[in-house]
Symmetry: C2
Subunit: 179 residues, 2 copies
Amino acid sequence: MRAALDELARVGYARLRVDEVAIRADVNKTSVYRRWPTKAALATAAIRAIGWGEAMPDTGHVRSDLVEMMRHALAIASTPDGRAIFRLLTTEGADPEVDAIMRDLKADLCARRAELVTRASSRGELPIGTDARLVVEAIVTPLMTRVFRDGEDVDDATVQRLVDIVLTGVIHGGGRLVA
Amino acid sequence: MRAALDELARVGYARLRVDEVAIRADVNKTSVYRRWPTKAALATAAIRAIGWGEAMPDTGHVRSDLVEMMRHALAIASTPDGRAIFRLLTTEGADPEVDAIMRDLKADLCARRAELVTRASSRGELPIGTDARLVVEAIVTPLMTRVFRDGEDVDDATVQRLVDIVLTGVIHGGGRLVA
């Protein structure tokens, strides 16, 4: 994974070669192909390995779950690996294979994040019928856009402020899927 | 502007030539240079001309202002010109000149959108000290990301749901810059 990430950062996806990754990792290339049969599978595994594949927080409270989730996402984004993945997206995001990889990763991540909200609905913290995907996107997208597109830092006060706006809004009746 | 947009869509920014725009528009290239002294100025004016430079709504109510603003942004995004500009961003977003143009456009747009929120605070609709930029980004970024990055349609119910979540949250005390 380390070798694959380093190669991705160095040459990008189009010029990534599994052979080079094997040499860098000092393993036989057939053992790489055995676990990751395609270049796309290898790149996906490497990107997941920087932390976006990890388990979501489960503190018992939706506010701290969402704050923790966001802190974790921001922490990864500010690492050299996180920045390298973003560079990959801006320079090769139009490549259909890169686009497909990033869509799959994003879909998986969004589903696991939405679970935090759905779980809060089932334990009565949030109204039943809350639009979980929209709640997650309203928190994640603005802050990740500041970091990645605008190159800004996002401080913890801003994370908490946005989580508060969105949760307060949902608790007071905004954002029901069925009116 | 029409000729500049068509050329931008056809060849992108790096290969955009003011001469070609002048030929396409059937005007003398010195008259193009007189109004837009650089290629960047021409591209900026052309992108603004698709509608993102227009005046913001001023209905007297923040909810309808924000819903109208968002409908307008989504309507532009779904035009061929809007999609062409997004393609430009994904294929040439890493070009420093394209990046600078898009940052300037975005900064201008964000400032004018934040005005809607600041105005609502001054007329007592929203608490004083509301984080206007964060409120705008919490509404605009998730929905524009769905359209541009995920290639999805955003229906009017979703626009209203998100505006409701965010405004309800702010009105009930979330999102104050000073606690």
